[in-house]
């Protein structure tokens, strides 16, 4: 069993590697991998390999710096990710199953709650548009207090 789990993890990793490396890729290792849209910019702020494993650490570091210390560098800001990776169709990183964050996270089964609070679309909202009550959140929320 442990072997199988390991193999699956390896397959998932390889799959993730493949899909992040190439904009269009064939399904590898017998799994239906999510297809990711290419970001708008030329290249990511860090190497793709590095980002795949460490984007959450960078974001965590950035959020503490920004909120608690008022440091407002943009290289690792979540806003920057959204600006580059918002889907062409939905204009969002998390509106549909094809969108950048959701595609990978639902594939990996790793729940993320960034989008409970953060805007999933780039740019400033139009004037007088208040944050709306969500219709049906695509990401399951943990319920209760978060």
């Amino acid at each position: 069993m442990a072997r199988l789990a390991n193999w699956l993890r390896l397959a998932a990793l390889l799959g993730a590697a493949a899909m992040l490396a190439a904009p269009a890729f064939e399904a590898a290792a017998g799994v239906d991998l999510p297809k990711l849209e290419k970001g708008k910019g030329d290249k990511c702020v860090e190497d793709t390999d590095f980002m795949r494993r460490n984007h959450m650490e960078l974001l965590k570091h950035q959020r503490n710096d920004t909120l608690r210390k008022g440091i407002r560098t943009t290289r690792h800001s979540l806003k920057g990710c959204v600006e580059c990776h918002a889907g062409a169709k939905s204009g969002s990183v998390a509106a549909s199953k094809e969108d950048f964050c959701v595609a990978c996270h639902s594939f990996a089964g790793a729940k993320l709650d960034c989008w409970d609070c953060h805007a999933t679309k780039p740019g400033k909202r139009s004037v007088h548009q208040a944050a709306q009550p969500a219709a049906s959140p695509l990401m399951p929320t943990s319920g209760g207090a978060k």
């Binding site: 959020r63 503490n64 710096d65 909120l67 608690r68 210390k69 008022g70 440091i71 407002r72 560098t73 943009t74 806003k79 959204v82 409970d116 609070c117 953060h118 805007a119 999933t120 679309k121 780039p122 740019g123 400033k124 909202r125 004037v127 007088h128 548009q129 208040a130 944050a131 709306q132 009550p133 969500a134 219709a135 959140p137 929320t141 209760g144 207090a145 978060k146």
Partner: protein
């Protein structure tokens, strides 16, 4: 002024009978630009060399005017509803002297206390004060216990009850966390004024002055030095960043 801002409240009631000299640059008809701060480099961060504060002149605050509230709602993505479960970061409050019938109108929001009770009671460290005195909630660690709401003497905090979408990218907000006025920290960090102050000025009332209390040359410091102003609930000795004039 910076020294007296840090002293006990009694020490701050020097009444100098000079009229406030207000300096500004005219940008267009009815629009004045007041330098708030030299905007700092993004990597620099908030510093204790500054303390952001505000002076609200209730005699200039328009009766029935709520442009500050509207501007806040627009900037921060609040619905503008005022039900018991709706977020209000700034409110217009009418106060009446029951003996004389004199009615005053003033905006009330988080007072950005130096000795903030919300920060004291927070069990997770989510309620926090930046180096420059701006009190914020770190939603990443807020568990929604609402102790801070109970502790705040100014009823300044709101709890988000429902899931939200379409937030302002600069103002993340979501269900399960407590929130309150941030002095529009996203604007202040760019060297701009809070949205309410800008709106009040645009309306021509100029009842709110925002600036650095530690900079003796800032407009707010100068006016504070030459005018009598009070903290609301000064008896609590919280050394609020927001002070009022005319009440």
């Amino acid at each position: 002024m910076s020294e007296s801002m840090n002293s006990k409240p009694e020490g701050r009631r020097e009444f100098l009978k000079t009229s406030a000299v207000v300096a500004g640059v005219t940008l267009g008809p009815g629009v004045l630009f007041y330098g708030v701060a030299q905007s700092r480099a993004p990597e620099e961060g908030a510093s204790s060399a500054n303390r952001w504060g505000m002076l609200i002149d209730t005699t200039k605050c328009g009766d029935g005017c709520d442009d500050c509230v509207t501007a806040c709602n627009t900037e921060n993505g609040l619905s503008g509803h005022t039900g018991p479960q709706d977020s209000q970061w700034i409110r217009k409050v009418d106060i009446k002297d029951l003996r004389t019938g004199y009615v005053q109108s003033l905006p009330m929001m988080c007072q950005h206390c130096e000795n903030a009770p919300c920060v004291d009671v927070c069990p997770t460290g989510a309620s926090m004060k930046r180096e420059d005195g701006i009190v914020l909630v770190d939603r990443h660690s807020c568990i929604g216990c609402r102790y801070c709401m109970m502790a705040c003497p100014y009823k300044a905090r709101s709890f988000v009850h429902e899931p939200l979408t379409d937030q302002n990218p600069e103002v993340p907000r979501g269900k399960g966390c407590v929130e309150s006025c941030t002095f529009c920290v996203q604007r202040v960090d760019r060297g701009e004024q809070p949205a309410c102050v800008e709106a009040c000025e645009a309306k021509g009332h100029k009842a709110m002055i925002f600036g650095d209390l530690r900079d003796p040359e800032s407009e707010v410091s100068k006016v504070l030095k030459s005018t009598d102003s009070v903290e609301v609930r000064a008896d609590l000795a919280l050394n609020t960043g927001v002070r009022y004039q005319g009440i």
